[in-house]
């Protein structure tokens, strides 16, 4: 009898029940800050949901897939997904390329190495509001960039040009986040065996050849991480279109799905629709991440 009970307990709790005690705090944390809000978001996305006062008697009926249908038929929302695709196409490769090249340079014995490392990291730790102010100064019609370009300056100017606004936002975000990704690559570079570079040198490989055949494959796990993080942070773009292009302007050309979630959910009280946008975004990012992972991790 006792043996059977023990056997059941072992089957239920495993061979090391103490492990459950160690895991529980994190599991509770995960359930409270991730699973529970996600569950609510899923629930909201299937209802005509809005935020109400506690105890208020309000009607928030089940609407099935209506909110999802709205996400895929509303021109402004479709445009925002296209905008974010443009953003990712520019931002992710640029981030990976620049971060890896600069990290390799900063990993070498160059003069003022610490100064450069700090310089690249400063934009990342500076508040967006302050940095956006500088970029507005640079890229507005009368800004420094147009003054330098003279007659070559685009008309309409960068931030009010529907073809250029999103690329400028993408470049801004690349520049701002670069320090963090350089740091990831710098850490990864410490794990690339020096013998491989020496072997390559003995075989007569140039620096560029060493970079392609030793460095790039050597930091592949870091590249997977950088692509993943850049995609996730890029897909959640909000602050930049909100501040740099004054609410996704011009004319919605730099509006992002998260910005529209804010507009519809908070400003206009359509939290159900906002939740549906969020769910579509989560699924989209997961799909892109899986494809990235498959492409980057295959041998």
């Amino acid at each position: 009898m006792t043996r059977t009970r023990r056997g059941r307990r072992a089957a239920l709790l495993g061979r090391q029940p103490i492990g459950i005690a160690f895991v529980t705090p994190y599991a509770v944390f995960l359930a409270a800050v991730f699973a529970y809000p996600l569950g609510i978001a899923v629930y909201m996305s299937f209802h005509d949901w809005f935020f109400a006062a506690p105890g208020a008697v309000v009607d928030r009926p089940f609407v099935g897939l209506d909110n999802y249908a709205a996400v895929f038929t509303d021109p402004a929302l479709l445009r925002s997904f296209l905008n974010i695709a443009v953003f990712l196409v520019i931002n992710v490769p640029l981030t990976v390329g620049l971060a890896l090249v600069l990290a390799s340079a900063l990993n070498a014995a160059i003069p003022f190495r610490t100064f450069f490392r700090v310089s690249f990291y400063v934009p990342y730790v500076t508040a967006s509001v302050a940095v956006v102010g500088v970029w507005l100064f640079l890229f507005n019609s009368d800004g420094l960039v147009n003054t330098v370009l003279g007659d070559l300056a685009p008309d309409p100017s960068w931030l009010v040009n529907s073809a250029l606004a999103m690329p400028v936002v993408a470049i801004y975000v690349t520049w701002k986040q670069l320090g963090f990704f350089i740091l990831l690559y710098l850490a990864a570079l410490q794990n690339v065996p020096k013998e491989l570079y020496e072997s390559a040198a003995v075989d007569g490989a140039s620096r560029v050849r060493s970079f392609w055949t030793v460095t790039v494959p050597g930091v592949r796990p870091a590249t997977t991480l950088v692509v993943l993080l850049a995609t996730i942070t890029g897909a959640n773009l909000f602050t930049e279109p909100y501040l740099l292009t004054n609410g996704g302007g011009p004319n919605g050309a730099s509006a992002s799905p998260v910005f529209l979630m804010y507009q519809r959910g908070i400003e206009q009280g359509e939290a159900g629709l906002a939740a549906a946008i969020g769910m579509v975004l989560v699924i989209g990012v997961l799909a892109i991440s899986l494809v990235n992972r498959y492409l980057l991790e295959r041998d």
């Binding site: 089957a11 239920l12 599991a27 359930a31 699973a35 529970y36 996600l38 569950g39 609510i40 899923v42 629930y43 909201m44 209802h47 809005f50 935020f51 109400a52 006062a53 506690p54 105890g55 208020a56 008697v57 309000v58 009607d59 928030r60 402004a76 102010g133 507005l136 507005n140 019609s141 309409p156 100017s157 931030l159 009010v160 529907s162 004054n246 609410g247 996704g248 302007g249 011009p250 004319n251 919605g252 507009q263 908070i266 400003e267 206009q268 009280g269 359509e270």
Partner: protein, 432 residues
């Protein structure tokens, strides 16, 4: 077993969230009549501009000295992108104060839908008090259910300010500038840009926030339509001939570069970047010493007489929130703060126009001493509010998007854009 545990771990949050959602929608509060008579301490919020903070403190101090058992605690509206967001969040959290002396009429339908506002009709004397104080204009602030969820408090009638020096430099009569008709306004705009040293004639914010329409399209629409609301009887009013004329007027300004498509990061009027601005009476103390300014009502296509011109009110009102327990005290404070004496203090301290029917007659000394404000006082009785309809913010955003696409950026035909926006607005206004 592992599968069962996994399934349970996924299901529990969903069940919890469902329960939470149902609890939220199934509650019930104290009835309005029960709590309308309750007295005791209350909390209020007011705007964060210097003049209103000073006024608010003075009112609270006066109240507290007279009512030691019904103490009022006051603070500025918590920081947020807009006051409406902070108030909306507080409604959801159940932490809103009893009164907010800065409730935007455009947000009232949403706050009401959230179950966040108290119908002032719960108080026996409220309707009479509001309608007697504000006059016929009060009608604009009634909700579709016929009740008042806001007490009309103060307005900032929108007019055109112009820079006298820049006008004189361009050879324009700075004391009586020709700005009455659209043609006159456009000619003056061309002259002042060509010869006045300003890059733009006027520079309303071209950004896409829903409320920016209140400071370009809507004031001129109000004037052109003799005071029609954006939506009347559930139907959009802005896609008719009047709206098309207003849109064409602004489009000309943008197309000719007389108005700018890029937001200026500063005060374009104070910095001399634009020769005109579209503002309310708050601008008088702001530009007082910096710019030698003059003011005229907004233009109309044919140049209507000044006494017939309507404009946007840019009003802010007082509303009572359902988290309030001592509503009897809150209502008494509402009346105390909007009495003739306190309204006079507000006018004196901030230059904003209390929404009183007989403003100029009530404070003749003030307007004798401050003639610059007389234009605003005159317009106060002909202000047009945002319509009190469901989906108010979504409606304004739809109008802004159409205006922005067609008028500011010229990507589509304004007439078509307004017609399409009107259809969308009709649909939104028809929803509950």
């Amino acid at each position: 077993m592992k599968r069962t545990v996994t399934a349970l771990s996924l299901a529990i949050p969903l069940v919890l969230s469902t329960v939470a959602c149902n609890v939220d929608s199934g509650g019930g509060g104290e009835s309005g009549a029960e709590s309308a008579g309750k007295r005791g301490p209350i909390t209020i919020w007011y705007s964060n501009n210097t003049e209103e903070v000073a006024w608010g403190k003075s009112v609270v101090e006066a109240w507290n000295s007279e009512h030691p058992d019904e103490k009022v605690t006051a603070q500025e509206i918590p920081a947020g992108k807009t006051a409406e967001e902070s108030i909306g969040a507080s409604i959801t959290a159940g932490t809103s104060p009893c009164l907010v002396f800065n409730t935007a009429p455009a947000a009232v339908p949403q706050f009401q839908k959230q179950g966040g506002l108290v119908a002032l009709d719960d108080f026996p004397d409220a309707r009479e008090y509001i309608e007697e104080r504000t006059g016929p204009t009060a009608e604009q602030y009634r909700s579709p259910d016929g009740k008042y969820y806001q007490l009309p408090w103060k307005s900032n009638p929108v007019v055109i300010f112009y820079n006298k020096k820049l006008f004189a430099k361009a050879g324009i009569d700075a004391d009586n500038p020709p700005l009455s008709t659209y043609d006159e306004f456009l000619d003056t705009a061309r002259k002042v840009v060509k010869g006045g040293g300003a890059q733009y004639a006027i520079l309303p914010s071209p950004s896409s926030e829903f409320f920016q329409t209140w400071f370009d399209f809507y004031p001129l629409l109000a004037a052109e339509t003799d005071g029609k609301l954006l939506v009347e009887d559930g139907k959009a009013t802005f896609a008719g001939d009047e709206g098309k004329r207003v849109a064409a007027f602004w489009k000309t300004l943008y197309d000719e570069g007389l108005a700018g498509r890029e937001k200026y990061n500063g005060d374009a009027f104070a910095d001399g970047k634009a020769a005109m601005a579209i503002v309310g009476p708050w601008a008088i103390p702001v530009y007082g010493d910096k710019v030698e300014w003059g003011s005229v009502p907004v233009p109309t296509s044919e140049g209507k007489p000044v006494e017939e011109i309507h404009t946007f009110s840019d009003a802010k009102n007082v509303a009572m929130y359902t988290a309030c327990e001592n509503r009897g005290t809150a209502w008494e404070l509402m009346k105390f703060a909007t009495s003739e004496e306190r309204d006079g203090e507000l006018l004196e301290g901030s230059g904003q126009m209390p929404l009183r029917a007989d403003l100029e007659q009530t404070y003749p000394d003030y307007f004798d001493q401050n003639p610059d404000y007389r234009t605003f006082a005159d317009l106060n009785s002909r202000t047009v509010e945002v319509p009190n309809v469901p989906n108010s913010i979504a409606i304004w955003q739809a109008v802004r998007d159409a205006y922005s696409t067609s008028v500011i950026f010229g990507k589509s035909d304004p007439d078509t854009a307004l017609t399409e926006a009107a259809a969308k607005v009709d649909e939104l206004a028809g929803q509950s």
